[in-house]
Homo-oligomer: 577 residues x 2
């Protein structure tokens, strides 16, 4: 039972049949065709040699098939993680050096170990720190950064930088060096892929191709661009005309090696590795859940940490780069009919074969083709409508989103995401530090109690009923003290205060101390404190404290019970709110 | 009106009468007598010359009387803030140097500016980050550190260090150098003060002294110890016998000066100044609230930030050290009958007179006397019962408390408090990331719905009712998705899911996106999503989103309405939970 939890492959392998195998094989073939250009492109984006992208698409896929819980997730290099990899490596080594590649491999390994540790200790909840608006702002800004970083390959202009200002600055400065042949290849591929995304599927449907096939065809269009431009580059000797080509790619499978355990490298990658782990995990889990839900399947987020972690460790051990579950590739895998993670393992074999036999051709592949592929893939991540929706819905969420977006663009991916997380937490505390609360009175003739400011209710000047609509914990413990003391200071006649608690789901130690302090202070001021409608779990907890003994008043099951007990034959005042 | 908010002095000065003035003068006299040894002692604790403590008890008291909202709070140097000052200054300069004093003055100024800025922007809620268990663990550990740091003065042994291990290590190493005369003075004062704390008041009461006077007498006992030991030191030439004396203290009032605006000093004190500000604010506000509540008065925490901030700025401008509202001195002020902040201003005059005329005598004051005063004052801060209570009440709160306590002792005050804050926030997210939720069914024959696992209720296999007892926000948005998808995956017959929302006080943008995703995924799986009992404020918010339009099901006012609408004439199953 426990073994099956940690080795999800055992859940499906024993019932694996020929029908599933043939579905998985077909899906794997299609995914392989998509993965080859994607792997090359994201290695380019991360500033790494093309083969590193291929290596990251072999062993990690096979390992995820053993440890992952999603049936259809396809792991490998993805755009945002590749961008984060480039940003993390920039201060450590120069692009193109041995150290740069070594640091990328180390980054994959460290982030893999972090994910596995988080999985073992069931720390998946840490991903909750990344709120949707922060992720959305981060993704949009990353996509813009990626487009800006790839424009140089499409335009044939040298440019560099790790934030938008630097990138655009160097691009504009180099605009005079625009390289015609490169631009033609880049723009050609770009326009073709744009057409493939929006116009190819409807065209194929019109020609009578079944919808699923047409969809897969449209999504794997990059391979046609790769094949055609590679052929053109070879035939027309585009490399000699100054068009940037991928160049020599060593053929053969990666060797298994342990990365360099140099502490001078380990320490600086820790924060980057953590951010890459968490962002990759969040992206992967949301893709996995979306797909699993369509077939009423489930994924286990804590085990997903182990699946992704082992995938990254294996990437680190086989010369790859950080990987995670990608959206477009997983959708292709799903639509192509993959039924089990075996499809991923088969795709790994496909990429391995490509690494063995196709590398001589890849040498002629123009970088502009890959850059155009990346640009078309990521522009859909820029989600301006989400920004507008969030702005309409909540100003504070929108603030966190905008801060993340702007800081990611203007400073760095890491600063953006850290600022977003901090802002979310600060705003959460701010919001819950002043929860909704209301003095309530009795709706005449009933047992119901309502806000005195909204309803025409009965009140008694000596007994005040205060309802708090939030769990009581450290963020609002002080608020509660202030609210109660304000009430008491404003009502010299008051002799009893009833805290009405149906909305209180939890009382932590800070709030408990505040309640004790309130009880004591009210007692000094000659006011008795009562509680009503305390929920079962909260009451169980309070029995482990001294509050119930020390309470100057009573605990009433219902607010009406408190009314009867405290007001009894005194004549209440009617008030119009 | 607004002027009165920012200048609370205007609220009481116009009605100030002779009765209040004479009460305030009496209180000020008593507080001055207490403040002289306290100010000297806390300067010693912070590693500063004695006069710095006196300076910090002149202008800040007068300024707080103008800007503060508590009628009876007495500001000045306090134990924990002095310890934090010592810890902050240690890496910046050597004790006894000009730079050390300059850094202390700068620390007061920077922390004052921070407090004022927080007050203007109403950032008082930031103090909520410090939960009660964290403060309690921090206070206990600080008190132990303070005792350990003062033992050297009582024992006459040279010792140093900024955590318990270092301090105890150097103390044990120097145990052979124990200095007899110093020990006699120190232990004598220590035992006298212990007796004064526990036995003097009962003794005076027995002798017929009124309770209030007896209490004040017991609390101001330190001044007797100071007078007696100073006299003895002078008469017996204890200084020549090796007993450490305070030594030359310049007489005269402090000069108003601007601290050194050297960036090399400013930057390293920023974090320390922030921590000192927040800890000082929390301590001061809780003292102020306790006292205000006894007389049914109120304090305004945001204005308190400005009051404490201006007090610290004035400390920085007049050669003082960081100050805050202290517990013991405020209680003395309160018990002595202070009615308005004018009492503080009068006490400032008292200290100013002492600075002008008493400094020649202070030169003969043994340091052992001050150290014993500090030790007796802080041992009551070590609150082991609170640790036990918190452990009984909540393991997770207890964890934050213990982490703060141990790190403060073993590493540093700053590491302790930062770790405590981080742990509190992480545990808050952890707890709310898995809120209580329950599938509910109808109590037969009623309109009530209860947890199927606790009650004998009616269910319908096609319609599931899920109640969530927590506000929905980023920490639990993912949980909700998982919970719902798990339910759907486990109930192949389900056609409708009703989210029962009476416990949902807020839905943030992350949770909104999760609800939209849930709606979409359920739709793909052929299940309609409905909502019931959505609270008014939440509904108002949702109207600014697309959720209500896109919702595959309905929004029902009551859960029973949803039951009638969805189940109608289908026959529900009865189940025993």
């Amino acid at each position: 039972m426990n073994l099956k939890r940690y080795l999800p492959i055992l859940q499906w392998l024993q019932d694996y049949d020929r029908g599933q195998a043939s579905s998985d094989l077909v899906a794997a073939l299609i995914v392989t065709v998509l993965l080859i250009p994607q792997s090359l492109a994201y290695a380019l984006l991360a500033g790494l040699p093309a083969q590193v992208g291929l290596y990251a698409s072999i062993l990690p896929l096979a390992v995820y098939a053993v440890f992952g819980t999603s049936r259809t997730l396809s792991v490998g290099p993805v755009a945002v993680i590749s961008l984060m990899t480039a940003a993390a490596l920039a201060p450590l080594a120069d692009v193109g050096t041995e150290q740069y590649i070594a640091a990328a491999v180390l980054l994959a390994l460290v982030s893999g170990v972090m994910l596995v540790v988080m999985g073992i200790f069931r720390f998946g909840f840490l991903a909750n720190f990344l709120s949707h608006p922060v992720i959305s702002g981060f993704m949009s800004a990353s996509a813009i950064l990626i487009v800006a970083s790839q424009l140089k390959h499409v335009l044939g202009i040298p440019a560099s930088g790790h934030n938008l200002l630097e990138l655009l600055g160097t691009l504009f400065a180099g605009l005079g060096e625009l390289h015609g042949p490169t631009l033609m290849v880049g723009m050609g591929v770009f326009l073709f892929l744009l057409f493939a995304r929006s116009g190819l599927k409807p065209l194929l449907l019109k020609l009578g191709v079944p919808a699923r096939i047409a969809g897969i065809f449209a999504r794997t269009a990059p391979i046609f661009a790769v094949v055609v431009t590679t052929y053109l580059a070879w035939q027309l000797s585009l490399g000699e005309k100054g068009v940037g080509l991928v160049g020599f790619v060593p053929s053969g499978l990666p060797a298994l090696t342990l990365p360099d355990f140099d502490q001078a490298l380990w320490q600086p990658v820790m924060v980057s590795a953590l951010l890459i782990s968490v962002v990759g995990f969040v992206e992967s889990v949301s893709v996995g859940q979306t797909l699993a839900a369509r077939r009423r399947q489930r994924i286990d987020p804590d085990q997903e940490l182990i699946g992704l972690g082992t995938a990254n460790i294996s990437a680190g051990l086989s010369g790859g780069m950080p990987v995670t579950g990608g959206f477009s590739r997983s959708v292709v895998n799903f639509d192509a009919g993959a039924e089990t993670p075996a499809a991923g393992a088969y795709a790994a074999i496909g990429i391995a074969l490509a690494t063995l036999f196709l590398t001589p051709m890849i040498a002629y592949l123009p970088k502009a083709t890959l850059a155009a592929t990346i640009i078309v893939a990521v522009i859909q991540l820029v989600d301006m409508p989400a920004m507008v929706r969030t702005w309409r819905y909540s100003r504070s969420d929108s603030g966190a989103m905008l801060a993340t977006f702007l800081l990611t663009l203007a400073h760095s991916v890491e600063a953006g995401i850290i600022a977003g997380v901090l802002l979310s937490v600060v705003m959460l505390l701010y919001r819950t530090s002043r929860p909704h609360s209301a003095v309530v009175g009795r709706v005449p003739g009933t047992e119901h109690f309502r806000n005195v400011q909204r309803y025409d209710v009965e009140l008694c000047p000596k007994v005040t009923f205060l309802r708090v609509d939030e769990s009581l914990y450290f963020a609002n413990a002080r608020f509660l003290e202030e609210r109660v003391l304000e009430l008491v200071a404003g009502s010299p006649e008051m002799t009893d205060l009833v805290l009405v608690c149906p909305g209180v789901n939890h009382v932590d130690a800070s709030a408990l101390e505040s309640l004790e302090a309130i009880n004591e202070r009210l007692q000094e001021a000659g006011v008795a404190l009562h509680l009503s409608e305390v929920k079962g779990p909260v009451m169980d907890r309070l029995k482990h404290s001294d509050l119930l003994e020390e309470l100057s008043g009573e605990v009433y099951l219902s607010t009406f019970g408190a009314w009867q007990g405290l007001i009894g034959d005194r004549s209440p005042q009617r008030m119009i709110g």
